[in-house]
């Protein structure tokens, strides 16, 4: 439990941590209310304070309202660095599941149309979407093909017939981030990924069929094509074995290189290197390769989902509303103290949230801002929000990414049993399909923070504004 007496309240939903004598480091800023802060482990504060000590930090090291204790950075941590000011790129600031994110698909079906087939649909999705530990995808790539994936991202998947090119504008970076350099990805990382494309993974990853339960912002909902009763599908997963191994390789490499690069790390897990260093550039090239792999992976999973739905509703549409990434370091332009600067923005368990008019957004969302998805637990629900302009969002266009854990996985296993949870959720009209009852218990809705409060505070803090609330109906868990 966080001791908020150590914090100074800088606004209704903003708190700062006054530096201790002799500690040095940059500013720490937490976006939350007192209740959410008290629910966080004190280690969140320790971790974000360590982030603030890294060189070249611009502005504050920040946490989002869903923050919780991670490794190195807290989950829900945001920090921007300037290469010209000796700034660093941190493998610990991105994590193992590089570009883990959510693809949200919008159907033209209502729940009333879908409900009679819901059991068949749940079974078919569970059968067709490879999920869980030990599961392999249906694709088997050569190393050369995987290198194309790493360079081309979702464009590669579209070129192979996995979904239409119409999806691409609705994916961050329009489906392919620049700067990918597969030569800086180890052979072991490539080997791990050859059979992993089109797989969901396990842990907090899911495929969820949801229904729009209420609209908060009619104009933004219209721009996003949302209406009450409409069915959506959200797919939460990342770069799979490739990203895991890149994270593993560079975490150790950067941790070992720190001293020779003149860096004193407050926590080894913050392993980082100057952006301008060779090893820093190598990490960026490898990390961008993993981002493109994640974008391609979600494109393939979206296509598999479309294939399943088409069996039941052949004429139904399943358009990409948006595809957001959570664990990334991205090169972005931000105005800081009246000056445009190129920054390396780390978001570890945080969502990019561009405001209206941003050049990175598709035309359809120019007036309202980027869709931001807060994925909640399988028993509560999720939110779609819209990004705010920089005058309101003072977190380098970042927002919450999920409900955030309130209880450890280990504790959750003591409170809940998977079979019991599946039955309880079924009684509430939520169908769970999973190969791991232990995984279900760890992901119990009660192990997460109150997603409504996280979304309310995200809005109240100016990070993004609520557009729609989605209720889960079918959840495929790994």
């Amino acid at each position: 439990m966080m001791d908020i007496a150590r914090l100074r309240q800088a606004g209704p939903y903003e708190w700062t941590l006054p530096p201790s004598a002799g500690e040095g480091g940059g500013e720490v800023r937490l976006f939350a209310d007192a209740e959410l802060l008290r629910g966080m482990d004190d280690k969140v504060l320790e971790q974000i304070r360590n982030v603030a000590r890294l060189p070249g930090l611009v502005g504050a090291a920040m946490t989002m309202p869903d923050a919780h204790w991670g490794y190195g950075f807290p989950i829900g941590g945001v920090a921007a660095f300037d290469a010209d000011a000796g700034g660093v790129v941190s493998a610990g600031g991105v994590g193992f599941d590089i570009s883990c994110g959510i693809r949200c698909l919008r159907t033209d079906l209502s729940w009333e149309q879908l409900a009679p087939q819901r059991h068949h649909l749940a079974d078919s999705l569970f059968r067709e979407i490879p999920a869980g530990v030990g599961e392999e995808g249906r694709l088997r790539l050569s190393v050369r093909e995987l290198e194309q994936v790493m360079r081309q991202g979702a464009h590669w998947a579209v070129a192979q017939g996995f979904g239409p090119a119409d999806d691409l504008p609705y994916i961050e970076e329009r489906g392919c981030v620049g700067g990918a350099e597969p030569d800086w990805v180890s052979d072991l990382a490539k080997k791990r990924q050859l059979g992993e494309m089109g797989t969901l993974g396990s842990g907090n990853h899911y495929l969820e069929v949801q229904v729009v339960d209420r609209i908060h912002d009619e104009a933004a909902a219209a721009a996003f094509g949302l209406r009450v009763g409409q069915v959506l599908v959200s797919i939460h997963c990342g770069s799979r074995g490739l990203g895991h191994q890149i994270g593993t390789d560079y975490l150790l490499l950067l941790a070992k290189s720190a001293a020779s690069l003149g860096l004193t790390l407050p926590d080894r897990e913050l392993a980082c290197a100057p952006i301008r260093s060779d090893v820093g550039q190598h990490y960026l090239g490898a990390m961008n390769s993993a981002i493109n792999c994640a974008l391609a992976n979600r494109q393939i999973l979206a296509a598999l989902t479309r294939g399943v739905l088409a069996r039941y509703w052949p004429s139904a549409r399943l358009d990409t509303l948006f595809d957001v990434s959570h664990n990334t370091c991205k090169v972005e332009r931000h105005r800081v103290e009246g000056r445009e600067r190129t920054l390396y923005v780390h978001r570890k368990g945080a969502t990019r949230a561009f405001g209206p008019g941003h050049a990175g957004l598709p035309d359809a969302y120019q007036a309202v801002g980027q869709p931001v998805i807060i994925g909640g637990s399988m028993g509560t629900g999720s939110y779609i929000l819209a990004g705010n302009p920089p005058e309101q969002n003072r977190a380098f266009a970042s927002a919450s990414h999920g409900a955030g854990r309130a209880m450890s996985r280990h504790q959750a296993l003591k409170f809940w049993h998977g079979r019991q949870l599946v039955d309880e959720l079924a009684a509430r009209g939520i169908l769970i399909r999973s190969g791991s009852l232990r995984g279900v218990a760890e992901e119990a809705p009660g192990a997460y923070k109150d997603v409504d409060r996280v979304a309310e505070v995200t809005e109240a803090a100016g990070l993004a504004r609520r557009v729609a609330f989605l209720r889960p109906k079918i959840c495929i868990k790994g």
């Binding site: 190195g72 030990g134 080997k191 396990s202 450890s408 996985r409 280990h410 232990r438």
Partner: protein, 146 residues
């Protein structure tokens, strides 16, 4: 699937401790190498019931690492990578050290439909990483990302 609490003891070679997002593993053994073998068991026991596995396929791996704590992370991550790329799960482990040179062995079997599915471990992290002497042996700890 039950995950025992820490502390790990001579009779309970490994256990688990709390971490908000992920999972802490703790293992003990008479030597650093034995503690690291038990840590590998702890990590793979997150994924399935090790007692149900047959040690029908073998792995040998070698690596150099002067720092024993970083060797623990390297050992765990190499086992993970080899397991995932071969679609296997390991159940038996052996580790030997000569100076900074480590030689590891593991045995396990391919995933089958009958095996209980736990949760995939993505990587062993440097968080709360330690390999320390304790009365009667050594204790290995780290947080694994799941």
């Amino acid at each position: 699937m039950v995950l025992p609490d820490v502390p790990a003891t001579a009779t309970q070679r490994y256990g688990y401790f709390d971490h908000d997002a992920d999972l802490g593993i703790e293992a003990c053994g008479a030597t650093p190498e034995a503690a690291m073998e038990a840590a590998a068991e702890a990590m793979f026991a997150v994924m399935t019931d090790l007692a149900a596995l047959r040690p029908e396929q073998q792995l040998e791996l070698d690596f150099d690492e002067a720092d024993p704590e970083l060797a623990l992370v390297t050992w765990l991550n190499l086992l993970l990578a080899e397991a995932q790329s071969r679609r296997l799960v390991w159940c038996r482990f052996r580790l030997r050290r000569e100076g900074s040179r480590w030689h590891g062995e593991a045995a396990g079997q391919p995933w089958t439909a009958e095996l209980e599915r736990g949760v995939e471990v993505k990587g062993a992290t440097l968080t709360q990483l330690s390999l320390t002497p304790q009365e009667g042996g050594w204790r290995a700890r780290c947080v694994v990302d799941v």
